[in-house]
């Protein structure tokens, strides 16, 4: 039973345009949500987070939107840059535990 779903295995975006990565969850008890970025042969690195009491959090080119009624969150990257090409994981958590999505591979085309 997947509590956190990233339905797009991959996404291709032109450099300079907006990248939108989506994530759906089923458990309304999650306290917070995080996005991680992963390059090949490296561990995931934290990108941005949002508490369940907020609906938006922004950090530079990265913005996360949370829609609790739809149990949906999205990560917007604008403008997209070649270095953004990576796998992006959505994770949802409460207490000590994070539940992870399967990841979306983002490819930024020059």
């Amino acid at each position: 039973d997947q509590q956190v779903k990233q339905n797009s295995p991959s996404l291709s975006v032109q450099e300079g345009r907006i990248s939108i990565l989506n994530c759906d969850y089923t458990n309304s008890m999650f306290d917070y949500f995080l996005w991680y970025k992963k390059y090949p042969a490296e561990g995931p690195t934290f990108l941005i987070s949002i508490s369940s009491i907020k609906d938006k959090n922004e950090d530079g080119r990265f913005t996360v939107f949370l829609n609790k009624s739809a149990k949906h969150l999205s990560l917007h990257i604008v403008p997209s840059q070649p270095g953004d090409s990576a796998v992006y994981f959505c994770a949802a958590g409460s207490n000590y535990q994070l539940i992870w999505g399967a990841g979306t591979k983002l490819i930024i085309k020059p």
């Binding site: 917070y32 995080l34 561990g43 934290f46 987070s49 000590y96 994070l98 992870w100 399967a102």
Partner: protein
């Protein structure tokens, strides 16, 4: 300065062997984790320790035994390795409330291949 380190980075071994993967963090965090990334790329929590005490133990075979000699180290010992144990294993650490909602810092991963 490496925050979370794992050794070895690659491990190739025969079925039935016993092996260990070591993890160390120099972030001063109280909580450490082991994850398994399977062939479908899902990251699944295996264990979590807080101040050397086990707080999460997901349904993993008891051939897997974590050991935390101190809060900076969480080693993973695997007995009687099976083909299905082949995966990438990630160690992570966090300090709840320290830097955002439970942000976890990951090691580079250990790719285990069982032949």
């Amino acid at each position: 300065d490496t925050a979370v380190s794992q050794t070895p980075k690659y491990l190739v071994t025969q079925m039935g062997n016993d092996k260990s993967i070591k993890c160390e963090q120099n972030l001063g965090h109280d909580t450490m984790y082991w994850y398994k990334q399977d062939s479908k790329k899902f990251l699944k929590i295996m264990f979590s320790y807080n101040n050397k005490e086990l707080i999460i133990n997901e349904t993993v075979p008891n051939r897997f035994s974590p050991k935390s000699p101190d809060k900076a180290h969480l080693n993973l010992h695997i007995n009687s390795l099976e083909l299905g144990d082949s995966a990438v294993y990630f160690c992570a650490s966090s300090q709840p409330g320290f830097s955002g909602p439970h942000e976890q810092f990951f090691g580079p991963g250990t790719r285990l291949t069982v032949l």
